[in-house]
Amino acid sequence: MKIAVCVKQVPDSETRINLKAPSPKLDESGFTRVLNPYDAFAVEEAVRIREKNAGTEITAITIGPDRVKETIKKDCLAVGCDKAVIVNDPALADADEAGIAAVLAAVLKRESYDLILTGKQAIDDDCAQVGVRIAEALGLPHVSVVVKLEFAGGGLTAHREIEGGIEVVQAKLPAVITCQKGLNEPRLPSLPNIMKAGAKPMQMLKCADLGMQPPARTYDVKLYSPPPARAACKVIKSEDDPAAAARELARLLHEEAKVI
């Protein structure tokens, strides 16, 4: 089986976001960059599938500048991916979801993958589009927000999270799956595996190698702004009389905030 895992390097979830003037600009100097947590579920799932299907080959694919090599080595190759393809083209620094999907689709078209895994969304832009766009671009079935994945007879059964429950979806391979938390518990790479990862192949490509021009944007970014400031907290102390505090809270929420 040939599996592709599409991953993204993102600022970690502890990062405070500071704006830079003139808008739209973000201050990236404080960013600690990691593998997108949802993509970690995708990498782990690929490795688990390989543990059950000897001879499976896993390729990690990403778009980004030089700094993404570290994440690819430590969090993809060291965890169990066999090789990586990195599209490192400055012209893509400003690509939007449509552009990213177009480039990834071009990379994916170069091989016949049986399964393409990716996280349900990246925790920086929170768009949750690229996996579905790739499937459409390649004419493949997809299932998104998957918490359980099984294979049988040339096809898959995926459990997808919906409001109030689970949708059980069947599709034939090849297919695209976007991974949700709960699908698995990602393993941490061992030190020996991190060292061995350096020897695994990492292919660097540019748009020209894919026979394509950098894609045009489908929307422009005009402004970044901080979330609205909130009013100061009205504190109700309760050590002596929790019942009175509860009464006061209920009164404020009912009469003042009018939310209950």
């Binding site: 600022p11 979830s13 990062t15 976001i17 947590p37 449509a98 999907a101 925790i123 920086d124 832009d125 929170d126 949750a128 589009q129 579905v132 766009r133 459409e136 079935p141 997809h142 299932v143 998104s144 927000v145 918490v147 459990h159 999270e161 919906i162 409001e163 109030g164 949708e167 059980v168 069947q170 034939k172 297919a175 938390k181 709960g182 045009a216 489908t218 929307y219 970014v221 005009k222 402004l223 702004s225 901080p226 979330p227 009013a231 907290c233 009205k234 504190v235 109700i236 309760s238 050590e239 929790p242 019942a243 505090a245 509860a246 009464r247 809270l249 209920a250 929420l253 939310v259 209950i260």
Partner: protein
């Protein structure tokens, strides 16, 4: 301009509340902008024979017309069939914007329709303005920052966060209904839903809830989560959880609110025994009213809360529940 179409998402004949919220906002924008060709319309994909009064509701919520396609393939969700129909609709009606709720279906079908049309998809948006041109605001970095974007394509698919827009209803005529052929005969349905498993107990969905009661490590153990569930039940609310207690296995991941959980936009979010880590705040900071109950007066949650009770939640929660029950009679 602008012509705004709103996807009237239905499941088992029941229309998602976000669809009505979007229609109301679309109509407000269209009435304010008032240019030639500006119109707010609904587009519905439904099972054959059903949904008789959707046109009436659509009219009450602002639709000037309802385009409806009915087919067996719209009884359950199917990405290929639903995308084919919506693409056909866009080609025929040429809206400037197609709004879809940021629901499980909306987040799945929006990017697929956008990819097929070669157009922009703006996910999980919270504001649309049309003064001179269309500008859409959406949260990024789990709400730590907002970005304003201008679509460059027609149409642009815009995902709208539930509860971003208010629900308004005015008495009015049913929207005139026009049927269209969805063009799904003989298509390859690719990924098919074979079963829908409802979660045990008819619980309120977090992403759609107006009131959420959430619990964290301050609950001390899984055996105490019932305090959250009971208060939630008394408020008709959804029950949420911090990542700490989900990772500890006290509750299922579907309860998690936060950067790697659900992003919620309720009218009121009551955080009990939750310290307020940045990742948790990222998931709930757009709540209109935030209440924190925590014994640590220095907990970061008090920095975003509108109302805070410093004290022992084991005493406050039952007392508060009693007050709520009194209020609700």
């Amino acid at each position: 301009m602008p012509k705004i179409a709103v996807f009237i998402e239905q499941r088992d004949g029941e229309v998602k509340k976000v669809a009505w919220q979007m229609l109301g906002e679309a109509r407000r924008i269209v009435d304010a902008a008032g240019g030639a060709g500006s119109e707010a319309v609904g587009v519905l994909l439904g099972a054959p024979g059903g949904n008789g009064d959707i046109a009436k509701h659509a009219g009450a919520h602002g639709a000037q017309k309802l385009f409806a396609a009915r087919h067996e393939l719209f009884k359950t969700y199917n990405a290929e069939a639903w995308a084919t129909a919506l693409v056909k609709f866009c080609h025929a009606q040429k809206p400037d914007l197609l709004l879809m709720g940021a629901t499980a279906i909306g987040k799945d079908i929006g990017p697929k329709v956008a990819q097929r049309l070669g157009c922009a998809c703006i996910s999980d948006s919270i504001r649309i303005t049309c003064e001179g041109g269309i500008v859409i605001r959406r949260p990024i970095f789990a709400g730590k920052c907002y970005v304003d974007v201008v679509p460059k394509t027609t149409p642009a698919i815009v995902g709208i966060r539930p509860n971003a827009f208010a629900l308004t209803e005015s008495p009015g005529a049913a929207a005139p209904e026009e049927t269209f052929d969805p063009g799904v005969a003989g298509i390859d349905t690719k990924a098919t839903v074979v079963e829908v498993q409802a979660a045990a107990g008819r619980k309120v969905e977090l992403t759609e809830a107006e009131v959420i009661v959430s619990g964290g490590r301050g609950l001390k153990g899984p055996e105490n989560y019932h305090l959250i569930e009971e208060l939630a039940a008394s408020l008709g609310a959804a029950a949420g959880a911090s990542r700490a207690i989900v990772d500890a296995g006290w509750v299922d991941h579907s309860h998690q609110v936060g950067q790697t959980g659900k992003t919620v936009s309720p009218n009121v979010y009551i955080a009990c025994g939750i310290s307020g880590a940045i990742q948790h705040l990222a998931g709930m900071s757009s709540a209109k009213c935030i209440v924190a109950i925590n014994k640590d007066p220095n907990a970061p949650i008090f920095k975003v809360a509108d109302y805070g009770v410093v004290g022992d939640l084991f005493q406050i929660l039952p007392a508060f529940k009693a007050e709520v029950e009194k209020l609700r009679g």
